[in-house]
């Protein structure tokens, strides 16, 4: 099934891409989707998205599914469905 992935911030600059459609299998989790993208885009992308342990999302990066932060869903185990929009958002402190 197809889901849409949107890129903001450093990841967008790195990939030079705003968004794309990605083909994944049914009930793929957010974690599995991000792993797949890491395999496609390599180490630079992986380091932007994952902490060193490879299991948790990097501090300061928010992942949303259809606008809702995954922390309020099932975290990285959140299951995706057809047409879902997954967005990678960097959050900065302050800036005044």
């Amino acid at each position: 099934m197809r889901v849409k992935v949107q890129y903001l911030g450093p990841v967008r600059v790195m990939l030079d891409k705003r968004e794309e459609e990605v083909e994944v299998s049914l009930k793929t989790t957010v974690y599995e989707l991000l792993r797949k993208l890491s395999n496609t885009y390599g180490e630079g992308f992986e380091r932007e998205v994952f902490e060193d342990d490879g299991g948790s999302i990097r501090d300061g990066l928010i992942i949303t599914v259809n606008g809702r932060a995954i922390g309020q869903l099932d975290g990285v185990r959140t299951s995706l469905k057809l047409g879902d929009v997954v967005t990678l958002l960097p959050l900065f402190a302050g800036g005044g």
Binding site: L8, G67, A69, F92, A93, G94
Partner: protein
């Protein structure tokens, strides 16, 4: 003492005379520096209830514990404090650049300026020599011209200058104090306090040694700290910089747009951090002893605003971009440049212009009032011109210069509903209707609407809590955030490096620098002490629970569209949030620190303030 100079400079602008006082290790350990020094000095040196423009309102500068050392991103930060003409409560603002280190090198950690000079003056601190200098030829000059002229007059290009522009001279309530071209002690109108004293600038040159207790150990530790400053914890600040928040917040329906009429902006892409870096950023510079370097300097190279140059962060971008419905960065950069030159806070002034735009569109002010400007949302040229009019108090700029609170009181006709301020200080860049933990942080922030005293949007946007619901547990989160930020604001450490520190590490650095033993727990206690002392000050100056509130639009109008559609913070939400916060803090239901809390923190001396309300 090591690092600390132990000296306080007291200046009387009326007579032009100054004297020195001292502080000891107990004071240093209890209040650390920056925030702690500033609030403590203010509460002890200002008569309760005075008018902020009274000559006896002390204008206070305070450096951090690590000022003038190689501790990363800590060397040059300083705080400015006074009773605020915006809120009539605690005024406090922080800046960085090069000025702070220079003051410590000159031999002072705190400067207390009272009185009013009979003629325009600037303060010239040249190591031990302190003089009130004639500034008649500087009055009316921009902040940049002021710095250049002072350096040329005194013949030293390394003099650091903290100056007001024409706005401070004219007592504009969003006036700031600017230093080193691109840095400002911006918020709460402290530039107007300086203006009310006929004080154009504070110029400082310091050539003394700054000795730390254990220099070799500190240097060794800094090797690791500097590495971390160049690592993943800070990479986004060194890369795109904070303006990348524009698209993040837009995607989350958390971007204040058109004076808070909505939470998403259709023009966000062209005022985004991504767009800024691609088209406008020409150089990234650093403050003193900063391995990160995050100052994104942007230049406009063509069009009607050609030549404009400014350091661009998220907040001013929000304030002059989405907040005013403007989708072009050249106008945003020009507006920020005007703010720097004329000496007004970019955030507050952008909010004021946005308010003016809504007034104009509702025909509460006319084209005659605006001096011919079509002050509509999206009109970048009018926005830029309005900044100037506010700074110079021209046309309706004279009313708007009072800040949205007072301007809406004057304009009336329902404009109070959309005057976006808390305690008289304009809102900043997080749409609070859909961020309820953050909304609490803003409602209780000691200097009025503010994200920098807590950063509690992290819980909401990070998905760690349900941002659309209010519960009593948020109080503890906000309290924790506030006290931690007090530590940062007293050392003074740049919050962009937050990811490299833990409290024990900060305590270790504190001890290596000052020679004073310190633990992470003691630092947290000190942070709590500062938060409570600030509250006592505000209570003394008249703050009650009623003042811990949110603007009417946030409490009555739901977000109209987007991911956060329908959300807002009603009175019931607010009461739950406040109750939880006051409880966590050990305060009464009216928000007054209880006697037990004062005792716990060594603040019994202020019990008479707390004694006013008991429950």
């Amino acid at each position: 003492m090591n690092a600390y100079t132990g000296k306080i400079l007291y200046v009387d602008l009326t007579s032009g005379r100054s004297k020195t006082g001292i502080f000891n290790e107990d004071f240093a350990r209890a209040y650390i520096g920056g925030t702690g020094f500033g609030i403590k000095t203010l509460i002890d040196n200002q008569e309760p209830g005075i008018d902020p423009f009274d000559p006896q309102n002390p204008l206070i500068y305070a450096v951090g514990a690590a000022s003038g050392t190689m501790v990363p991103c800590a060397s040059s930060k300083f705080g400015v404090f006074a009773k605020s003409p915006a809120s009539n409560l605690l005024g406090e603002a922080y800046s960085t650049g090069q000025w702070g280190a220079e003051l410590r090198q000159a031999g002072y950690d705190i400067v207390v300026i009272k009185g009013k000079s009979p003629k325009p003056a600037y303060l010239w601190i040249d190591d031990e020599s302190v003089q009130r200098m004639d500034a008649s030829h500087l009055w009316g000059k921009t902040t940049w011209d002021t710095e250049e002229t002072i350096r040329n007059d005194l013949g030293d290009q390394l003099i650091r200058v903290s100056a007001i522009g024409p706005a401070g001279e004219k007592l504009v309530r969003t006036a700031c104090l600017l230093n080193d071209h691109f840095r400002a002690a911006g918020r709460t109108g402290l530039g107007a306090v300086a203006g009310s004293k006929n004080l154009k600038a504070v110029a400082v040159r310091g050539t003394h040694d700054v000795k730390v207790a254990q220099p070799e150990e500190l240097r060794e530790l800094c090797k690791d700290l500097y590495e971390r400053c160049k690592g993943p914890a800070t990479s986004k600040y060194r890369g795109l910089g904070t303006p990348a928040n524009v698209l993040t917040l837009n995607a989350q329906g958390a971007l204040p747009t058109r004076n808070y009429q909505s939470a998403t902006f259709e023009g966000a892409e062209t005022v985004s951090g991504e767009y800024l870096n691609e088209h406008f950023v020409t150089k990234i510079e650093g403050c003193t002893a900063c391995p990160c370097r995050c100052e994104h300097i942007a230049e406009v190279r063509e069009g009607p605003f050609k030549g404009a140059i400014a350091r661009v962060e998220y907040e001013p971008t929000m304030a002059f971009g989405p907040y005013c419905g403007v989708d072009r960065l050249d106008a945003v950069i020009k507006a920020i440049e005007y703010c720097n030159l004329y000496g007004v806070d970019a955030i507050s002034t952008g909010i004021v212009v946005g308010f003016g735009m809504e007034c104009y569109e509702r025909e509460l002010i006319t084209k005659e009032d605006t001096g011919g400007l079509e002050l509509e949302f999206g009109n970048g040229e009018a926005m830029v011109e309005m900044v100037k009019k506010i700074a110079l108090r021209k046309d309706v700029g004279d009313v708007l210069a009072e800040g949205v609170k007072r301007a809406s009181e004057k304009i009336g006709r329902g404009s109070e509903h959309f005057a976006m301020h808390i305690k008289g200080v304009e809102v900043t860049g997080y749409e609070l209707r859909g961020l309820k933990t953050c909304a609490l942080g803003y409602a209780v922030s000691r200097r009025g609407a503010d994200h920098q005293r807590h950063g509690s949007y992290g819980w909401d946007l990070g998905g760690k809590v349900d941002r659309f619901k209010a519960d009593k547990g948020r109080g503890k989160l906000v309290m924790g955030d506030e006290d931690v930020y007090c530590i940062f604001d007293s050392m003074i450490l740049c919050k962009f490096t937050r990811g490299i520190w833990d409290f024990d590490l900060i305590a270790k650095v504190y001890s290596l620098v000052t020679g004073i033993p310190m633990t992470g727990a003691e630092l947290l206690k000190a942070g709590e002490r500062m938060s409570n002392l600030a509250r006592l000050y505000n209570v003394r100056e008249g703050l009650t629970r009623k003042g811990d509130t949110l603007p009417p639009r946030i409490m009555k109008d739901p977000i109209p569209s987007g991911v956060a559609k329908g959300s807002y913070v009603n009175q019931e939400d607010l009461d739950i949030l406040l109750d939880g916060y006051y409880e966590a803090r050990g305060w009464t239901k009216e928000g007054v620190p209880k006697k037990e809390k004062l005792k716990e923190l060594g603040l019994e001396a202020y019990a008479n303030i707390a004694g006013k309300e008991e429950s």
